[in-house]
């Protein structure tokens, strides 16, 4: 199983000192957090992508390329890559390039973005969000899998005789996750292609996360990629740790109370109850995190949000240390103990995808297409193709 850190890259005033980091300091801080993650034995660092203040993370491959040069083992990912407003041709080029620079230590998580005005700034319409995600991602898959692409869609200039360069490392496109909080179309998209599904989890009640993941798992099986419990699932989580629960709460509370997303609303205690947030000892974090698998099933990647809301870098680096020394080693052992043998421990990596050879389904633009066509030909009852509401909410 993989464990890591995901950052939204916000610049937020430290409410305890009134000090706001400069953009340069914030970027440097994210780099230090990523390097620390590798140093303490975490597996993944993922950066968000935003194109508006108070965020600095407008250029993920630049940043991840720099981190790649300074690390040897760390997997570099995104949380999320805006598949709606970015040109899929540029995503194909940038991330293939990053694959080459990093020796294949790259995967990506597709997302639609949550800031309305970003769409018009990039010439798009937010009401087309799902359709943009569908069309752009399909084109991205082609660009990484077909040597010459001829293509005409609804949102972008047509392509005639286009070859994306560099081609993916070892002819093997990076593994892709799709992140969505509540759009069932995106869970369906992830399932259709046999990609991973990531639930942000941190701003939602567990019942909601459970239903979204269950839907993805059922559809993953429906599209013939494996059994539902073999689908590739990632979750977010949010923690703050100290030697005692009281100390953790004392230090974290002012950051919580003034946080950009939920500050000035629910109490720390209420939010802990409502969402997976855990503020306490490393043992408490271990216990809570292990409980996630009880409602989403055995999963493959756990990401932690720890560097936000104006927390100073020194405090965040301590959190990474604790994750690496006291939390993740226990989680690794315990998650493996409960995992059935047929459920993969890790998501696909560059090495595993290369090992599975050029004929593996990963190399098809639409791995499920043959199965869907075969079913259509034998005129399977349309009703049987959809799960009933009871199955998902049960």
């Amino acid at each position: 199983m993989q464990f890591g850190i995901f950052s939204v890259g916000d610049v937020t005033t430290d409410p305890t000192t009134g000090r706001t980091a400069s953009e340069a300091e914030r970027i440097e801080s994210m780099t230090r957090i990523a390097l620390k993650a590798e140093e303490v034995g975490l597996d993944v660092f993922a950066t968000g992508e935003h194109h508006n203040p108070p965020f600095v993370v407008s250029s993920p491959t630049t940043h991840l390329g720099y981190i790649a040069a300074k690390t040897e083992r760390l997997l570099l990912s995104t949380s999320t890559t805006l598949i709606t407003t970015n040109d899929p041709v540029k995503i194909a080029e940038d991330y293939a390039f990053l694959q080459h620079l990093s020796g294949g230590r790259v995967d990506l998580m597709m997302g639609r973005g949550n800031t309305g005005p970003v769409y018009p700034w990039f010439g798009k319409d937010i009401r087309d969000g799902i359709r943009l995600a569908v069309e752009n991602y399909h084109l991205l898959r082609k660009l990484w899998r077909e040597p010459v692409v001829n293509w005409q869609g609804q949102f972008r200039t047509p392509l005639q005789g286009y070859t994306s360069t560099p081609a993916p490392l070892d002819g093997t496109p990076p593994f892709v996750w799709h992140g969505s909080i509540r759009s069932t179309e995106i869970a369906e998209q992830a399932a259709y292609y046999g990609d991973g599904f990531f639930h942000n989890h941190i701003f939602w009640n567990k019942e909601h996360t459970e239903q979204m993941v269950r839907l993805y798992r059922q559809r993953y099986e429906f599209y013939g990629h494996g059994s539902a419990d073999q689908a590739i699932v990632g979750l977010g989580g949010q923690v703050f740790m100290a030697g005692s629960e009281a100390e953790a709460k004392r230090v974290f509370r002012p950051y919580f109370d003034n946080a950009p997303v939920y500050g000035h609303g629910p109490s720390l205690e209420d939010f802990t109850e409502m969402t997976p947030l855990t503020v306490g000892t490393p043992e408490q974090v271990v216990e809570r995190t292990l409980g996630f698998a009880d409602y989403v099933g055995d999963y493959q990647r756990q990401m932690f949000l720890i560097d936000h809301a104006g927390l100073p870098t020194s405090l965040v680096l301590e959190q990474v240390e604790m994750l690496g020394s006291e939390v993740v080693p226990v989680l690794r052992a315990e998650f493996e103990r409960r995992r059935p043998a047929h459920v993969p421990s890790d998501p696909p990596t560059h090495a595993s995808l290369v090992a599975s050879g050029p004929d593996a389904p990963h190399h098809l633009v639409e791995p499920a297409r043959a199965l869907v066509e075969e079913r259509a030909a034998s005129s399977v009852d349309e009703g049987a193709q959809r799960p009933s509401r009871d199955q998902v909410t049960a």
């Binding site: 069932t184 369906e188 998209q189 939602w204 979204m212 939920y262 629910p266 499920a368 799960p387």
Partner: protein
């Protein structure tokens, strides 16, 4: 019954009780029985604030109420009049509903105020709100100023509005026979928004026209 009074007892709730009683009588008179459930918005005021500032994280109680409202055959809504409109708390409850919660649902609008000079609040504030939610608002609204609690006119209006609501609630569901009307697919579809919809569009349909080759 969704009522947004702030005090106990409140004139808002007093009005709601009278409308509830009249509605039950009118439904019963049409040969059906009516189960009445009250939502006192005040009791979830803090939870609504949490829901708003967290981008929609629901509490269990709020989830229950959202499901209750989305499943109701008819709705009576009663607000106090604040600064010439419905109260902020009243609006917060409806802002916390899924936009398809009330589609096609019969709604009786009512308001309690200190003065008759606010009586247009029903037609200038409540009616547009429920039109946006695609509810079916009955023609008679019930407005009660303090002095109305001593007049016959109020109970007459309540009876008329309740009769209109009961007629809509009891008479619902006749959308015609398939094949005879092109609008069968337009049957109002309601959802509380509290559960993940399992009835997902197959990906082949989502991809149609977007695969670059068709």
């Amino acid at each position: 019954m969704v009522t947004a009074g702030l005090t106990v007892p409140s004139s808002t709730r007093l009005l709601a009780d009278q409308v509830a009683e009249a509605t039950v009588a009118q439904v019963t008179a049409r040969g059906e029985s009516a189960d009445v459930e009250f939502v006192e918005v005040r009791e979830v005021a803090g939870e609504l604030a949490t829901f708003m500032v967290t981008g929609g994280i629901p509490t269990p109680r709020l989830t229950e109420l959202r499901e209750l409202v989305a499943a109701a055959d008819g709705l009576v809504v009663v607000t106090p009049v604040f600064n010439g409109s419905y109260s902020g708390l009243f609006k917060m409850f409806f802002d916390a509903l899924d936009k398809d919660s009330l589609t096609g649902t019969p709604v009786l609008i009512a308001a309690a105020a200190g003065s008759a000079r606010h009586s247009l609040v029903l037609d200038h504030a409540l009616r547009p709100l429920f039109a946006y939610l695609r509810a079916v608002v009955v023609p008679t609204g019930v407005f009660a100023a303090t002095e109305d609690f001593g007049s016959h006119g109020l109970s007459d209006r309540i009876t008329r509005a309740a009769a209109e609501l009961a007629a809509l609630v009891v008479g619902r569901g006749d959308y015609g026979v398939g094949g005879f009307t092109p609008d069968l697919a337009a049957r109002p579809r309601r959802t509380s928004g509290t559960q993940v919809e399992a009835d997902v569009t197959p990906f082949g349909d989502l991809l149609r026209g977007h695969s670059g080759t068709d």
